[in-house]
């Protein structure tokens, strides 16, 4: 798996790294604070042939570009897989607004926002990592993770609805253009986020269920993520990589840091249009607090930490070079195998406590936490479509 590519570190180096990351506060090899992201350079609108594109370059030299292309596609219903919904299609074409067959009940309603149904097939996401096949488990895992966050809740697919007969088909091509120096999830996720923010779809001029035609004035094209006063209200998701070492929680780990992780999680966070009630707003004002973002937890996945595949160190007590008896397998040898020796690296075994995992997620999500920070930072990027 790509996430478990070996960091070529010796057991001694691993032990040292693990020890320094376990200190309070942790000492990271590149001097960052525990919740600090790598510095990055970002730009959008780099590919004129796309509906939206972005490029991000991390300070460690990894770089990714994302292009979003949209095509109009006829909505296929009633054939090719759906066993039901046939009557539904015909009645709709005849102009009966019979709704809700999918839930098994009929109800008469006009088409409004709530009626829009998106399907996950409308988004096609492909990830390309140099040196990895596209059916490599790691690449598939990355693509599945990014798609899962994007499609969670079904809100995103709804944005692609044109009318009852047509929808946008969105192609997201996510390319890592540098060698994968570190686990590329945060980079790819942030780049995708920016590209989607910058994505604009041509303005629809047709009405109702007729064949759609669009305004060719690009300047009039609305953003996929609606904007108010130049700021997007809802935002595409971002996936953050979090890991735990000892008692510390570390964000955006580099490859070397990931190699000593006890547990690593990918946490995907989305932001929704703030639907705060007046009472809540009042309360916030009273407490002199700015209204926080309306963050949503969309997905959590355990990343197989490469630390499990690191070579173990040999304690002096059993090292023949230091005078340990080199007899054949003693019965105690097995028992000693599981005992940890201070300062000697041993690959972690077993899993992580539920509480530790919850703390990782909590730390990412809390108000003023890392997710907030990252989204703020991305807000500062000028959007050029």
């Amino acid at each position: 798996m790509a996430s478990t590519q070996h960091a070529l570190l010796s057991p001694a180096e691993l032990a040292y790294l693990h020890a320094s990351l376990s200190l309070t506060p942790p000492i990271r090899p590149d001097g960052r604070a525990a919740n600090q992201f790598r510095p990055l350079a970002a730009e959008t609108g780099i590919l004129p042939g796309t509906n939206g594109s972005a490029r991000i370059c991390f300070a460690d030299g990894t770089e990714a570009i994302v292009g979003v292309k949209a095509e109009v596609e006829r909505t296929r219903r009633g054939d090719g897989g759906r066993e039901d919904g046939v009557e539904y299609v015909s009645s709709r074409l005849e102009g009966d607004f019979v709704e809700g067959v999918s839930s098994g009940e009929g109800a008469i309603a006009a088409v409004d926002e709530a009626d829009r149904v998106g399907e996950s097939e409308w988004v096609e996401l492909s990830v390309e990592i140099p040196g990895a096949r596209d059916d490599d488990a790691g690449t598939v895992f990355l693509a599945a993770m990014l798609a899962e966050a994007l499609l969670a809740g079904g809100e995103f697919a709804k944005k692609l609805w044109i009318n009852r007969r047509f929808h946008w088909k969105l192609y997201l091509d996510i390319l890592l253009i540098s060698p994968p120096l570190s686990y590329p999830l945060p980079l790819l996720s942030l780049t995708t986020h920016l590209a989607l923010l910058a994505t604009r779809l041509p303005r629809l001029k047709s009405e109702g269920d007729e064949d759609p035609f669009f305004d060719d004035d690009w300047a009039a094209a609305p953003y996929l993520y609606a904007r108010k006063d130049g700021k997007a209200t809802a935002r595409p998701p971002v996936s953050l990589l979090v890991m735990a070492v000892g008692n510390n929680i570390i964000f955006d780990p580099s490859k070397e840091e990931l190699a000593v992780a006890d547990v690593a999680l990918a946490v995907s966070v989305g932001e929704e249009t703030a639907t705060t009630t007046a009472a809540e707003a009042d309360e916030a004002q009273q407490q002199q607090q700015p209204l926080g973002r309306n963050l949503r937890l969309l997905s959590v996945r355990t990343i197989d930490p490469p630390s499990r595949l690191t070579p173990p160190g040999v304690p002096n007590a059993t090292n023949s070079a230091y005078g340990a008896a080199t007899t054949q397998k003693q019965p105690e040898a097995r028992a000693a195998e599981s005992e940890a020796v201070e300062g000697v690296w041993k690959a972690p075994r077993g899993g992580a406590k539920a509480l530790v995992m919850a703390a990782l997620v909590q730390k990412a999500l809390m108000r003023g936490g890392v997710a907030d920070e990252v989204l703020d930072a991305l807000d500062a990027v000028d959007l050029v479509a």
Partner: protein, 412 residues
């Protein structure tokens, strides 16, 4: 699994150099092995050729170890017992002409239109039949059929078969790479064995005419359709059918059902073809296709959720495959050597170990369910070797008949 030394152990004298490397390795595992008693009859006639026999400690192995280390002599010893009182038997405890009992469960899968699980000893195979609709407009070289008339003449029947084959309406595929045995690991394209098996099932399905193409056709009857719109019930429509036929448009064939027959080996212990074929037959007999009508407005076939018709497989009878392998005394007998010098055994329903040791196999597909219980041979396949001749084949038909009855009983 280790057997106690002495009575139940297999004592293996240290013999040829070919195996010596393996044996030396094993010696360290068996430091306590005792030397072989001299009174043993087996030892006597070989003792002179190994003068220093007593100096070499003998070894004892558990049966599985023995089978793994030198399978051919192991099976041979089992088949040719020293004392005449014991009957020859195979390593799996069966007599040479004894097949493993067959168990069949049908309708266990809910997403398939027909399914069967067949277990024969340690060979387990699951078969699922999945029907999909192929509109005739999707067939590149489609020749329309003119009439609805039932095909009674022989030429019609031949045409039916040609139709089944020309449009490829039966799609059997066998998946062996499921880890069902150590040599079948997934992630690789279908092995030669899997391809051979699929092709054999495919050709047997066609040559036996198992599936009646009539039950795979989806018709469009404009006259019936017209009547339906005028509000007449189904029953009356069928009564009136004869009267209206002259004036109404003739029914048209609009689509076919395609049967995807997929076989998945859960466990593999030899004789895959018999198990696979039994599973295919059981699954096809279990298959029920939903009633379909052609909707001209939508240009697609619409199926009924409630009404289902069993697939017609009666015409092909019940062909049952029966496979045997020929085990020869000399592992590498020269080609052209007289068969008489080389003892052989015909092992019915071979398991994995036996299959690996036999080069000659024969498969006979018989059907004893015909009129008057007459046995009909539907197919004979023989590969490799020269042992089985006319006489043996004749005798084998009797064995196959017995097997047919066993399988038929299991199916019912």
């Amino acid at each position: 699994m280790k057997f106690p030394l002495g009575s139940s152990s297999l004592n293996w004298m240290y013999g040829r150099g070919r195996q010596s490397a393996a044996i030396r390795n094993l010696e360290t595992h068996n430091p306590t092995s005792t030397s072989h008693p001299e009174s043993d009859s087996d030892l006597l006639h070989t003792a002179d050729s190994y003068s220093s026999i007593m100096a070499i400690p003998s070894l004892s192995f558990s049966r599985p170890t023995f089978a793994k280390l030198s399978p051919h002599p192991y099976l041979l010893t089992n088949l040719s017992p020293q004392s005449p009182s014991t009957k020859p038997s195979r390593t799996n405890g069966r007599a040479p002409h004894e097949a493993r009992p067959v168990q069949i469960h049908t309708s266990s899968l809910s997403h398939a239109h027909g399914s069967a699980l067949v277990r024969s000893g340690n060979t387990t195979v699951v078969c699922g039949v999945r029907a999909e609709i192929l509109p005739v407009t999707n067939i590149p070289q489609y020749r329309p059929r003119s009439s609805l008339q039932p095909s009674t003449t022989a030429s019609d029947e031949a045409a039916d078969r040609a139709e089944l084959k020309a449009y490829d309406l039966l799609v059997p595929n066998i998946e062996l790479a499921t880890g069902c045995a150590p040599q079948f690991l997934p992630g690789v394209p279908p092995s030669t064995l899997a391809q051979t098996l699929s092709t054999r099932v495919y050709s047997l399905l066609h040559s036996c005419g198992v599936v009646d193409p009539k039950s795979l056709r989806i018709w469009h009857d404009p006259s019936a359709e017209a009547k339906k719109t005028t509000g007449e019930g189904d029953a009356s429509m069928q009564d009136d059918n004869d009267d209206d036929e002259s004036e109404a448009e003739p029914p048209q064939l609009m689509a076919y059902w395609v049967l995807y027959i997929d076989l998945l080996f859960v466990s593999f212990d030899g004789n895959p073809f018999d198990a696979a074929w039994t599973a295919v037959m059981a699954a096809l007999r279990d298959t029920k296709l939903p009633e379909a009508r052609w909707d001209p407005d939508r240009e697609m076939a619409i199926c009924s959720r409630t009404r289902k018709n069993p697939l017609d497989v009666s015409r092909g009878g019940l062909p049952v495959a029966c496979t045997a392998a020929v085990f020869q005394e000399k592992e590498y007998a020269e080609a052209g050597g007289l068969a008489g010098e080389n003892r052989h055994w015909v092992l019915l329903d071979p398991d994995r170990l036996e299959e690996s040791l036999c080069r000659e196999t024969v498969t006979m597909v018989v059907d004893c369910g015909g009129v008057g219980g007459e046995t009909r041979i539907r197919s004979i396949e023989k590969q490799g070797g020269t042992v089985i001749g006319r006489e043996l084949m004749r005798g084998f038909a009797g064995v196959a008949e017995k097997r047919w009855r066993e399988v038929r009983d299991a199916m019912q």
